[in-house]
Structures are given as C-alpha cells and as structure tokens.
C-alpha cells in the first residue's frame, strides 16, 4: 500500500504503520457502526416498559461482555496452537496477547457499564451473583496474564510461559465459577437478560453486536501488528549489538 522509500531502518515517518486497505475499510465500518449504535441506542429506540432508559446501557454492555468472552477464548485457542508443536509460531503468541489485552479492555467496560445498569435497575452497583463474580475474576486473571507477558526473556520464553498461564486460566475459570455458584445459590436466577426485548430494541442490540465485533477484529489486527513490530525491534537491537561486538573483535 504505502511504499516506504527507506529499505533500512531510518527515521522517515510511515504513513500507515499498521494499516492496510482491508483494515481501513474495516475501520470505516466500525466508525459507521458506532455512530449507528449511538443513534439507535440513545435516540431512535424506545424506552423499555420495565427498565425504562436503563435498557439503553444493555446495547453496549451485552456486546462488550460477549466480545470479551470471545477474546479470552481466542487467547486460549491461540495459546494451545502455540504449544502444539506442529503449529508453533510466534504469530499465535501475539494473537493470544493482543486478544487478551482487548478482552481486558472490553471486560473492564462490561464491569463498569454493568454496575451502572445494576444501580438503576436493582438499586445496587454489585451483587455476588455467580456470573458477575466469575466475570470479575476473569478480569483480574487476564490482568495477571498480561503482567506475565511483560516478565522479559526471549520471545520464545515469553510465548511458552504465557501460553501455559493462559491454559491454567482455562482450568481456573470453571473452578471459580462453580465454587461461586455453590457459594451463593440464592442469586442464581438473577440473570442479566431479564425482561423481553423486541423490535427496535432488539435491532439496536444487533447493531451493537456487529459494531463491537468489527471493532474487535480491527483492534486485534492492529495490536498484533504493533506487537510484531516491537518483537522485530527487539531482534534488531540484538543484531546491532552482536554486529558491534563482532566489529570490536575484528579490530583487536
């Protein structure tokens, strides 16, 4: 797309460092989708009979929650793909990392919008329902995962370490979920999707879901590419250092 004139690393600005024609089209679609979401979610859709205006929060809360779960599933699958010898590639590791980061972002948004919704619908910000509690634990667990990614070492070390942590998280989540479910059986039926949505409301939710899915793909592509550049930069630093040492050796 954008031919950079400098073949060797230079200081020339790159017009679209991580963009391609595809991501630009996708980005435009995301912006359009978000505009639609705001238009329908805040203005064109009616108030719910029971929840009144509170239902408008659900158009962003539900999609971000679903996408966060999807992002963590992608992290788990890519981590398994990295550990599996025949598909081992640092690209899987970067996809896992990028997806986890986006998942944490979305899950954070889900928790905030969810507690705002809870405040106006239940009168409380938080309840120790198993779904809410599991979600909060997921959030913290993947923050830990991201911290493990920054521990240092070679790219391969980082990839293997974080892939194992991601798979341990897959082991941990059901354990947390069921123990919390046993712990507070009374809150079980308090589900987020209480009340029926219809017509324009359902359509607004649908718009939100599509907009956030496209956003997830866009973010994943860009984040993954930035990570690839960061890794390449690390390697370059190493190459340069090695070349310098060799030059020193040659002089002696």
């Amino acid at each position: 797309m954008t031919p950079t004139p400098t073949p060797s690393p230079g200081r020339t600005a790159v017009a679209r460092p991580t963009g391609t024609r595809f991501t630009r089209v996708l980005g435009a679609a995301v912006l359009l989708g978000m505009a639609w979401l705001v238009l329908f979610g805040l203005f064109l859709s009616p108030n719910d009979e029971k929840q009144k205006a509170g239902v408008r929060i659900l158009y962003i809360h539900v999609p971000t929650a679903w996408l966060a779960y999807l992002a963590f599933i992608v992290t788990g699958v890519s981590s398994a793909a990295y550990l599996f010898k025949r598909t081992r590639s640092l690209t899987w590791d970067r996809i896992a990392g990028a997806s986890a980061e986006i998942g944490v972002l979305f899950m954070g948004i889900t928790l905030v919008t969810g507690s705002l919704w809870g405040r106006i619908s239940w009168g409380i910000f938080w309840t120790w329902d198993s779904r809410l509690t599991t979600t909060a634990f997921l959030f913290v667990t993947y923050i830990g995962y991201l911290a493990v990614r920054n521990l240092g070492g070679t790219h391969q070390q980082r990839a293997r370490r974080s892939a194992i942590i991601a798979l341990l998280a897959v082991l941990e989540v059901p354990l947390v979920h069921f123990s919390v479910k046993w712990w507070r059986p009374l809150h079980q039926q308090e589900s987020v999707a209480e009340g029926k949505l219809s017509g324009l409301m359902l359509f607004s939710l649908f718009v939100g879901l599509i907009a956030f899915t496209l956003l997830y793909v866009w973010l994943l592509l860009h984040r993954q590419r930035v990570m690839a550049m960061e890794d390449a930069l690390d390697d370059q630093g190493l190459d340069v250092a090695l070349a310098e040492r060799r030059a020193e050796g040659a002089q002696v």
Binding site: G144, A147, L151, L168, E172, W182
Partner: protein, 227 residues
C-alpha cells in the same frame, strides 16, 4: 532415580533449610498470629468473630502463604540453584512435587497454629463428627494450596517485581479453595448451625482442585521454570 525419590530429597532439603534458618518459626508464624489479632481489632465483636472465624483462618493462611512461597523460591533463584538442578537433568516433575511437599508441610504447621488461635481467640469450637471433616478439609485444601503456590512461585521466581506479581497471579486461582475450605470448616465448627454433613461436598471440590493443579503443575512446571 524415580520421580518420587527426587521429590522426597528436594522436600527434605527445603525443610532442612527452613529448620536451620528458623525464618518460618521466628517470622512467618508470628506474622500469622498477628494477623489473627488484627482481625479481632478490626471486627471488634465477639459474636461476629466466632461467626467469621473459619474464613479468617483461611484468609490468614493465604496471606502467610505468599510469604512462604517467596521464601521457597528465593532460596532457589539466589544461587541459580533451580537452573543447576535442571542442568543436572533432574526431572522438573520431581522438583515440582518435592517443593510442593515441603510447602504443604510448612503450611500445615501454619494452619495448626492458626486453628489454635481461632479456638483460643475467637471461641471456635470443634466437636464429634466435625473432627474428621476438619482433618479432611485441611489435608485437601493444603495440598491444593501447595500445588498452586509452587506452580506460580516457580513462574515468578527470578522475575523482576515478583513480590507484587505473585499475589496478583495466585490469589484469583486459590479463590475456590478459600470458598470451599471456609464452608467446610464452618460445617466442622458448627458455625451458624451448620452440620458436618454439609461440609463434605466442599471437601470434594477441594480434592478435585488439588488433583487438577497437581496434574497440571507436574506437566507444566518444567516449561515454566526453564530459562
């Protein structure tokens, strides 16, 4: 050398170091007892204390465990001992089981002290069929905690900022143990009229937890500590 023999040797080495350095007896145990006293200051009500005694025992165990795990791996990473063990061809599964065994024994000592503190300070009370449940709960929960502590301790060992990383990684994972062990202990103590038969399903959860992380740890430990 069989994996089990490696595990026994490593556990014996760790416990010998702890016995000689006396850090556990002189610092960690007093810290745990202090936490129990501080809880009493914070809650300031005898009835409430008796009610929450089981949870406080396990909460104090987990906080003290963070210190124990740091110690267990500070010993290893200080002289690159963990790397040396690996270079020597010692099976990582054996190292994992050995370090877990040592940690479990240290935790058990800690829990006995905390339990006595709960009985003395918080008027907790065990009787009859509760004793068996209590023993089962402590064995299962301690095993699970030791596996998780060793697994994540090994990962954080030698890393920058491990003191802060370890709680972040470990506490969410051990949350099911906190819930399960607290409920089972409440049943054993008869807190709030709970009967000991209510506690056994929780012991099942604790056993499942210990089995899963024991298996996962034995398989994954080698890759985690490999540098």
């Amino acid at each position: 050398m069989s994996t089990w023999r490696i595990a026994r040797l490593i556990a014996a080495k760790d416990l010998r170091i702890e016995l000689r350095s006396r850090i556990v007896t002189n610092q960690v145990l007093p810290f745990a007892a202090l936490v129990m006293v501080m809880f009493a200051f914070a809650l300031d009500n005898d009835a409430v204390l008796t009610r929450v005694a089981p949870g406080l025992v396990w909460l104090a165990t987990m906080f003290s465990m963070l210190v124990l795990v740091q110690r267990a791996f500070a010993v290893e990473s200080a002289d690159g001992a963990l790397d040396a063990l690996q270079v020597a061809g010692v099976r990582p599964g054996g190292i994992f089981l050995g370090k877990s065994l040592a940690l479990a024994i240290e935790l058990a000592v800690l829990e006995i002290v905390l339990l006595i503190a709960a009985v003395v300070l918080y008027q907790a009370d065990v009787a009859g069929s509760g004793v068996l449940l209590l023993v089962a709960t402590f064995v299962a929960a301690t095993t699970g905690l030791a596996f998780v502590g060793t697994l994540y301790g090994g990962l954080a060992a030698g890393a920058k900022g491990r003191e802060t990383l370890l709680p972040l990684l470990m506490l969410p994972v051990v949350a099911p143990v906190l819930i399960g062990a607290t409920r089972a202990t409440e049943a054993a103590f008869g807190t709030n009229g709970a009967t000991s038969s209510e506690g056994w399903p929780w012991v099942g959860l604790l056993v499942l937890f210990a089995a899963l992380f024991g298996l996962g740890g034995t398989l994954a430990f080698g890759s985690l500590i490999d540098e």
